[in-house]
Amino acid sequence: MKKGWWKFWTIVILVPLLAGCWSNRPVELRSMVLAIGFSPAPHGRIRVTVQIPTKAGLTSLTGGGAKSGGTGTLDYTLAAEGLTPGMALTRIQSNMQTDLYLGQVQLVVLSSTLHGSRLRTVEKYLTRLGPMDKTAYAIATPSVKSLMRATPSTQDLPTLDLIGGFGCTSCETTTYRQHQWDIEMAIPTPGDSIWMPYVTTAPTGFNTGRLILYRGYTPVWALSRRDTIIMGFLLGRTGKGYVSFRAGSNRIGLRTVKATPKIRAKLVRGRLVVAASVAMTGTLDTWTGPALTPRRIRWIEHRVDAQLSPELFQVMTRLQRLETDPGGWLAPLIWRSRPSWRSASVWESQFRHAQVMVTVTFHLINVGDSN
């Protein structure tokens, strides 16, 4: 053992310890970006907005559920513009003293006015971004700025409040969350279109429960709440659908309506046929008619079929008109048989002329403690 060794090791160990180099940067020196938003800016530029919790926001989580240090706003936003998202982020970074950290982005907010090549640039950028977490949720909103500034009445960190629902599959009417990776995988797949939640702001926080559909990189349809539920049936994602209608003199109300769709695209004599058969179940919660018998239950089920089929069909045909395929129903067909269909324009036009069939089979599985 040479005598100088301990000096050497002390230096080798201490220098990195105190400096914190390479990938080593303690959390308090990182600015945790919770949400990152992209919106169009003049001259073909892209505006990037990041939302970062303030010190009050960070300490609001400690000490259990009770608010301890939570005075003042919980987060702040920074925005910059650039020809590419990276350029904008560099501008944001240059105005900050801590490291802009993208490894914990929870939410990617896309402006619904962002489309075409600029959305493409954004998505390509996000795909290439190594540290970016692909399990972040993606949403669209008419105004990134107001979404980022919204303060929910729950007094939670806004982003965590918003994504709270996405993390819980049985909490929402429609499980309509989309991860960033869902978007990234759907984009290059022919026969698959992207869609995501469409969130607007309200004085009490966020207005959720709607979807927005894209055709390629262009948003084409922001669905109403009702259409979102129907769309949810077609995607198999509605867990708490509600159907209510009047049948003769009686009112029928059904809750927790779930659907298991089977949607197949196939070629019949050179023509594309999209056949959707949707098996649904639900719980009867309103029935003003006479006591239930098996026959009457069957009658109710038929009425539901008759009520829902056109609604579903309507949505399907609208999708067809808009040439968008959020369920990726055509993708298997394209993948297996038609190399020429790989180009979007070909399958979109095929889809537009396809024959659509919708069959709904509803089953009551719960009638409650009443006849």
């Binding site: 390479w22 080593n24 540290p131 692909k134 290059p188 797949t189 698959d192 298997p332 993948w335």
Partner: protein, 364 residues
């Protein structure tokens, strides 16, 4: 000697498979498995020709020094190339996903140093360490994979079509052959197994091969199912991206999928350490398989330094893939097919001549 060959393919598979074969990817995978099963058998036969001598020696003796020497040197260069590629590739993966601020050379240095130390104490320790590491890593990867199974959006892409396009399938099989490249070292390890345990070793080798096939099949299902064929083909490291989606709540570490990068670092480490071991033996051995410790250690350090330096030549993964697909793969496949094709007939000829001589001598 567990999974010395997982380190190479695990990060890339099944990109080329899908890229070339399209909907026939499944068939191509089957073809690779069958093809390599055959090659494995051939290599076992090669190893059994003369288990007590170094392969280089056998080469020289059977094929005359004129052919044997260059062939042996060529083998060594191949080993080096594979090790360099794996080191460079792993450094790039880590840098892209896990240690973004850390320079690749530091990551690679850790990998090379760990592999060096793993190979340091020789065959038994190497085998035991890999035995101790391999199974947990495999189980860990499969567990993480299982977390994304419910997210298989593209289930329809997994099964191949009924009609088979021959050329794309063959091309895909060829370009994806890297997943099993490296198995030939197992055959080389054969000579280090005690004579009485060789049949058992042979059985284990096949079990190992089957495990790897299942593992890769699982990887194929998960990657294909989560990413879909089209997105998959656009990525550098599709399985890494696929498993990064594994995410659980209610635990201290939620993004378990990211750990997969590190976990597979162990495969890369196993691959490289076995490669080091092989190289050190090849460089150090003159005639017999057993190499004296000093020479072994010296050779080991030399090999590690060369591999580390070589890996510094690659700045991005694009270079790694390009070099591998244009140079590495054809050379390697040529070697894998060529070596048994040269050695086995030569050995057969030798045996026949020996028999002939014996029968000539017998009457006298």
């Amino acid at each position: 000697m567990g999974g010395g060959y997982l380190g190479l393919g695990i990060f890339q598979f099944p990109r080329e498979l899908v890229d070339f074969a399209g909907p026939d990817a499944g068939w191509a995978f089957l073809l690779i498995c069958l093809g390599f099963l055959g090659l494995l058998m051939l290599f076992l036969k090669v190893a059994a020709i003369d288990p007590d001598h170094a392969l280089g020696y056998t080469l020289r003796r059977l094929l005359s020094p004129m052919v044997g020497w260059p062939l042996d040197a060529f083998r060594i260069v191949l080993h080096f190339m594979l090790a360099v590629l794996v080191v460079a590739n792993f450094g790039q993966v880590m840098r892209s996903f896990f240690l973004i601020g850390t320079p690749a050379w530091a990551i690679e240095a850790v990998l090379v140093a760990t592999s060096l130390y793993t190979a340091w104490y020789g065959t038994a320790v190497l085998a035991r360490t890999i035995e101790a590491i391999f199974v947990p890593t495999l189980i860990g990867s499969i567990a993480i994979g299982a977390l994304v199974v419910h997210q298989l959006r593209f289930r329809w892409a997994i099964l191949p079509t009924g009609h088979l396009a021959v050329t794309p399938t063959l091309l895909a099989a060829y370009h994806s052959a890297y997943i099993f490249i490296g198995f030939e070292v197992l055959a080389q390890a054969y000579g280090h197994v005690r004579v009485d345990r060789r049949p058992a070793a042979r059985r284990w080798l096949f079990i190992l091969f089957a495990t790897t096939v299942v593992f890769f099949a699982f990887g194929y299902v998960v990657t294909m199912g989560t990413e879909g064929p089209s997105a998959l083909a656009t990525m550098q490291w599709p399985p890494v991206s696929a498993l990064r989606l594994a995410n659980i709540s209610g635990f201290f570490i939620s993004k378990l999928g990211l750990l997969v990068v590190v976990l597979w670092g162990l495969f890369a480490m196993a691959f490289i350490s076995i490669r080091f071991w092989c190289l050190a033996h090849d460089v150090g051995a003159k005639t017999y398989r057993v190499v004296p410790p000093t020479r072994y250690h010296g050779a080991l350090i030399g090999v590690a330094v060369v591999v580390f330096a070589g890996a510094q030549g690659f700045r991005t993964v694009v270079g790694v893939v390009h070099v591998f697909q244009t140079w590495g793969l054809p050379i390697m496949m040529g070697y894998l097919v060529g070596l048994p094709a040269l050695l086995l007939p030569a050995a057969w000829w030798r045996d026949r001549r020996a028999e002939h001589k014996a029968s000539e001598k017998a009457p006298m």
